[in-house]
Each structure stands twice: as C-alpha cells, then as structure tokens.
C-alpha cells in the first residue's frame, strides 16, 4: 500500500503489555498494521487478523526504551493515551512511538504534527477528566467502607485512585467505574483494580443520610440568589457528572428511572469483595501504580 501499511490487523488481549507487544511485533516485522484492537472489541475489518500474544519480555523492552530513547514525558503520554478514550488509540500510540524513535525528545513538542496533536489532546482529555473527578466524585459510607460510583469517558481509575489513597490512608474505599466495569479497592495501603460487572452495595445508614442532607443543605444555602447563573454552573460542572453527585443528582431529569447502582448481570457482592475474594486479574493495571 502507498502509505506503507500492511494488509493486516493486530489483535491483542487488551492489556498494556499486550499493546506494547503489538508495537514490538510491528517493529520486528517491519509492518504497519491497519488497525490494532483488543480481542473483546467488535471487529469491523476486512483485513486478515493476527493475534499477537502478550510477551512480557517484548513489552518490557518497549516500555524501557521509551523514556531512554524518547523522553519520560513521552512514556507518560503513552500510558495515559492507552487509558484514554481516543478512537484507535493503539494505532495512534504506535504512530506516535514510530515518530518518537525517529525524532527523540522533541516529539512531544511537535504539536503541529497530526499524530502528536491527536495524542496530546487525548492526554489532555484524560488528565482533565481525572482532575474534575478528584473533585466531583462522592463517597458514601456503607458498612464502614467509603464507596463511590463514576461514569467517566476515559479509564481514569489508575490516575485518581492514588490521589484518594494518599488523601485517606486510614480509610477503606471502593470506587466503581461503571463505564469500563472496573473497580478499585483500597485498604491498608493495598490497592487493587479489578473488573466488576456489577457491585451490590450495602444500604446507607442514618448517619450517612444525615451528612448527605447536611451537604445538600449547605449546597443550597451557599448560592447567592442575586447571582443566579445555572449556565455558568453547567460550563464548569458538565451535566454528565451530576448523576453521581450527592447535591446534584436530584436535578437530573429522569433520575428516578435509573437505579444508580445497578447494571449488567454478573455480580460481585460487596461484602465478599471487601473482605476476601479479590479477583486475580489485576496484573494489567498494576503497572500504573509502580511509577
């Protein structure tokens, strides 16, 4: 093909290491795949598909080379880009890395380049969303555990969880990402991310409900009537976050129709989750907590 793309698509297991293995594969075989997608994603391609098995050694070689041959900032972008919701993000990362190995550290400054600017905006988006959620996320205490539900567009859990762990080292908390069906559980300086189709929470007790009432009352009282400006509020706090915010969920239309804490079928009971039964599949995301 004229743009040097091979007529092949890569498929990988959806993990970060798997994606890096695809990068390795592409370099070793001197080919540019038309697409790279995780195995559980719907496939719309007429090209032949090759499954690239995750190879830890290959992945490590790529991971180690990025900060050395490009820059630490580039390594950070690759991690965040992988967690972002950018379309064809794996292919974008591959293009970025190819350019990066060529240009070195300057690549993250080359915002006029299509590839770099696309990745840059994806990274901005996820950083922005995780910053907002550090504020907009709401915990409610259920059975001694602080629980929260979020619906982010990007996979922000690995970015926000360390913030809350640093903030509340003595608490036990669970944040459930409903979009990606993932959850993070923190207790005694141990943090784990695991997939979760549904989480059944214990009901809130009276003390919890009292604090929610107090907070709602504070929220209502603090507004100045003479400055009423709901549009300004919506600019700063987009409506898609409201359904999980104690003080604003009542203002979302049709809220009653949706039970905020239920989805999908396979369920993990909170009690068990908290105390013993943490699922095994955590390795893919551990990587982010080391740095």
């Amino acid at each position: 093909m004229s743009d040097g793309r091979a007529l092949i698509s890569y498929q990988y297991d959806g993990s970060f290491d798997g994606m890096l293995s695809c990068v390795f594969e592409s370099f070793v075989r001197h080919e540019n795949p038309t697409d790279i997608f995780p195995e559980d994603a719907p496939q719309f391609t007429l090209c032949p598909i090759r499954f690239v098995p995750t190879n830890e050694r290959h992945a490590k070689r790529v991971a180690v080379s990025i900060p050395v041959k490009i820059s630490r900032q580039a390594a950070d972008w690759v991690k965040k880009g992988f967690l972002s919701c950018a379309e064809h993000r794996e292919l974008l990362l591959l293009r970025f890395l190819r350019l990066g190995y060529q240009k070195g550290a300057a690549v993250t400054r080359m915002l006029q380049q299509e590839t770099v600017s696309e990745l840059f905006h994806a990274v901005q988006f996820i950083e922005n969303e995780s910053h907002l959620l550090k504020g907009f996320l709401r915990f409610s205490e259920r059975g001694g555990i602080l629980t929260a539900v979020i619906d982010p567009k990007n996979m922000v859990l690995p970015l926000i969880a360390p913030h809350f762990a640093d903030r509340m080292p003595r608490e036990t908390f669970l944040i459930y990402d409903r979009t990606h069906e993932m959850a993070v559980f923190y207790q005694n300086r141990q943090m784990q991310i695991f997939p979760a189709g549904e989480i059944l929470f214990e009901p809130e007790n009276d003390t919890e409900l009292l604090y929610q009432q107090l907070w709602k009352q504070f929220y209502r009282t603090i507004a100045i009537e003479g400055r009423y400006n709901p549009k300004c509020r919506q600019t700063h706090c987009p409506k898609r976050y409201w359904q999980n915010m104690t003080e604003l969920c009542g203002e979302v239309l049709g809220n009653s129709a949706r039970n905020p804490l239920k989805k999908a079928s396979d369920s993990i009971i909170m009690e068990e989750t908290a105390r013993q039964n943490l699922p095994e599949r955590t390795e893919n995301h551990d990587l982010y907590f080391k740095s």
């Binding site: 504020g135 100045i224 300004c232």
Partner: protein, 436 residues
C-alpha cells in the same frame, strides 16, 4: 439548636465571601492522618450561581458586635444568630472531607464578644483539626482585625491561607460604611502576615522542618459597586496590594444589596456583575500577562469598556504593535494577543522550536483563532478571514453577549450588485477607542 439549623445560618452568613480557592500549597498525605493538598486547587462542586465550591465556607459565629452598614450580620439587623462549638465544626469538616464533598475549611467569624475571644475560638477549631484529627487538608482562615498579634501568628501556623478583608476600596468609604473598622486595623494584620511569611521563608531555608506560616499566602477581598470609586482606582489599589503586601489574590465582590440603608445603593440595585467580571479579567492581566494597571486603564479612561474585555481594549488602542508574527514574537508579546492565553502562548513557543507554524498548525495546537486571527500573521501571511473582511473584526472580538448589547446583526445578506457601506477597519477602531 441542631446542626442542620446552625449550618444553614452560618453558611448563609458566610456566602458573600468571594474566595473559595484551595490552591497554593502542595502537601502529601501522611500515615495516620487524613488529607492532602494540591497546588492547583480542586473544585468540588459549583453552586447554581456558577461559583466554585471548594471549601466548607462557614462562620464560626454570626453573633457580631459590630455594625457595618453593608453587612447582613451587623448587630442591629434582626437575623437568627448561631455559633458552632470548635469541636462540632471540626467533626463536621472531617465528615464532609471523608465523603469528598470539600477540599477543606474556610473559616471566618463575626466578632463574638471581642476580637481576641473570636480568634481564640477559631484557633481552637483549627487545633482540633490539625492536632487531634491530624488533618492535612486545606484551611483558609480569616484574620480577625483587632485581634492580638500573638493570636494571629498562632492562627497563621495552623492555616494554609490567611486573609484580611479590605472591604471597601478607599478609606473614605470605609469611614462612611464600616465605622468600626479602621484602615490601620485592616492593614496591620496584613503587614504582620506578610512579615510572618517572609520570616518563615528564611527559617525554612535554615531548617527544612520549620513549621510553615500560611504556606499558601494571603488574600483579600473588596466590595465593588457600593461606593463611588472608579475601576482605575480599584485596579491601582489591587496592584499595590500585590506589590506591597505580596498578596496571592485580590477578590472582588459585586455589591449585593442586603441591607436597607440611606448610605448605600437602594435595595433594588442590580449587582454590577459585568464590572466585577472585567475587574477579574484585568486582575488576571496583572498577575499572569505582564500588564500594569496604568496600561489597562488611565485617568482619561478610568472605567472599563463594557463591550470589550480589557485585553482586547488594550490591543485595539495599540494596533501599531499588531499583527505579530507567531513564529518570531516573544512570549510576552504573544500573551498580549487577544485570544491567546498562557497555555496557548506556551504551546506556541514550545511547538515552534520544532518547525515553523502555519494557521493549520495553530488549530492543531488548540489555539482559538476567533479573535487571535486579527492580530497575528503566520509565516508573514494574514489569516484569510482577517484579510478578506476587516469589518468582521468588531464582531469577532466582541463577546456574543456584548454584540447583543450593541445590537449588531450576526450575519448579513450577500449582495451581487453593490457593496453596502460597511465599516472599515479604521472606523471600527475609532469607534471602539472613542474617537468617533
């Protein structure tokens, strides 16, 4: 009185304080404690007036002995009174903080009995938070004018940010509306806090673990629109506050008529929100864009142009300095281009090191060209829109709201036959600079 009632009364009484920022200090959490703090600040919610809610903003007490005319808590006002006990408030703060409702506490108070007693109560609240709960989150404390300097010093050791409200932009207004507050009584704690911060900084050089005095600096607030000062006077005042008192922020609060008083504007006065907005825009220009107050306004033009933001206004009066070439202009000059902010300017400077930029590249970088295109060239060329229709400029630099206020049409019927009398670029300029 139950907690709900107290919270209602005391947050209602505190809501006219503009500051709700949690920025300026980076602090990691510690084992066994609760809380951390990040320098950029985190907004936790936005109230229906569009203001950020970051801190639990309450008064310790609204049972004030003073009688400031503009204040809801003045002693002669018939309003319900309440006071938190220090322990009550500390526990409420922690419970809100755990649920991630807030970033910390903003504590102010009416003058309960006397300034010293009030200050002691505030110190006790912060002490419980810092020492008993081991709370490392953000605390903003209002210094109580007239309190003993030892108490202010203690308060500064417990809080992250301190503030003393200057209340009104001139001494004459202060004398008129807040007879119990003297200019000296406001400035002396401000000076003390400034000196505390400077001294502490040199201690920190010597002893890394020296306790920190108000590490997030100090701020102040003044009411705009209750008294006849011009925008220029207000801006000059804030500039000198930044310079002389090294303030981190000066907040402006559009006067909300809350009290019937013959010294004050009448109760049906609308709060001057646009004026407040312009002041904030100018304040940003002072702090981040390298402008001085006398560049933004002067004796001849002592008030803001309601239709144009201060930066556009400056640019239009200095068209001789434009257009600037994005590939060669200094960072300082890029910052002066309407529509280019700190972020865009930084990105441009960084990206142009790797290759020259054209209009398309600017778009990819994320520079918003709506206004900027009239003030820049890319590789020596004016952007098309700017070249083709110079009269578009006025519409582009006006905000949508301002355009509505003037009543310009937002588009027009094209004609094959004759060129209607459009404003030329010069006309637009003259009109805006007041020559026409």
């Amino acid at each position: 009185m139950d907690l709900m009632e107290k919270l209602t009364i005391l947050s209602d009484a505190a809501k006219y304080d503009a500051a709700c920022t949690s920025s300026g200090v980076d602090r990691k959490g510690k084992a066994g404690g609760i809380g951390n703090s990040s320098a950029c600040g985190i907004c936790h919610s936005f109230s229906v007036d569009g203001r950020c809610i970051s801190l639990l903003k309450v008064l310790l007490s609204n049972d004030c002995v003073y009688n400031c005319h503009y204040c809801v808590n003045r002693v002669t006002n018939d309003t319900p009174r309440a006071s938190f006990t220090p322990r009550e408030l500390a526990s409420l703060t922690i419970e809100f903080y755990r649920r991630n409702y807030i970033e910390g506490l903003f504590l102010s108070s009416g003058i309960l009995k006397n300034p010293d007693y009030t200050c002691e109560q505030m110190i006790e609240t912060l002490r419980i938070l810092r020492e008993e709960y081991r709370f490392y989150g953000y605390i903003h404390a209002k210094a109580i004018p007239g309190a003993d300097s030892a108490l202010i010093a203690r308060l500064g050791m417990l809080a992250d940010r301190m503030s003393v409200n200057i209340e009104l932009p001139s001494e004459a207004s202060l004398r008129l509306l807040a007879p119990a507050k003297k200019k000296a009584a406001i400035l002396s704690p401000m000076r003390q806090i400034r000196d505390g911060i400077t001294e502490n900084r040199s201690d920190l050089v010597q002893y890394r673990h020296a306790p920190k005095f108000a590490p997030a600096g100090q701020s102040t607030q003044m009411i705009v629109g209750a008294t006849p000062e011009t925008d220029y006077q207000i801006l000059r005042l804030s500039e000198s506050l930044y310079q002389k008192y090294s303030l981190k922020r000066v907040f402006f609060s559009a006067y909300m008529p809350v009290a019937e008083d013959n010294l004050l504007p009448s109760l049906d006065t609308k709060p001057p929100l646009l004026r407040e907005h312009r002041l904030y825009q100018a304040d940003w220009l002072l702090r981040f864009y390298g402008f001085t107050a006398s560049e933004i306004l002067d004796e001849q033009h002592p008030n803001f142009n309601p239709f144009l933001d201060p930066k556009c206004n400056w640019a239009i009066q200095h068209m001789d300095q434009f257009p600037v070439e994005v590939n060669t202009a200094s960072y300082e000059m890029l910052l002066r281009v309407p529509g280019i902010g700190v972020r865009s300017a930084k990105r441009i400077v960084s990206a142009r090191r790797t290759g020259s930029l054209d209009l398309d590249a600017l778009k990819k970088i994320g520079v918003v060209l709506k206004r900027a295109q009239y003030f820049i060239t890319c590789r020596g060329k004016l952007p098309d829109a700017a070249r083709l229709r110079s009269d578009n400029m006025i519409r582009a630099v006006l905000s949508d709201k301002a355009a509505q206020m003037i009543g310009t049409t937002q588009g027009e019927q094209l004609s094959l036959f004759h060129n209607p009398n459009l404003l030329t670029r010069e006309d637009v300029m003259k009109c805006l600079t007041g020559e026409l």
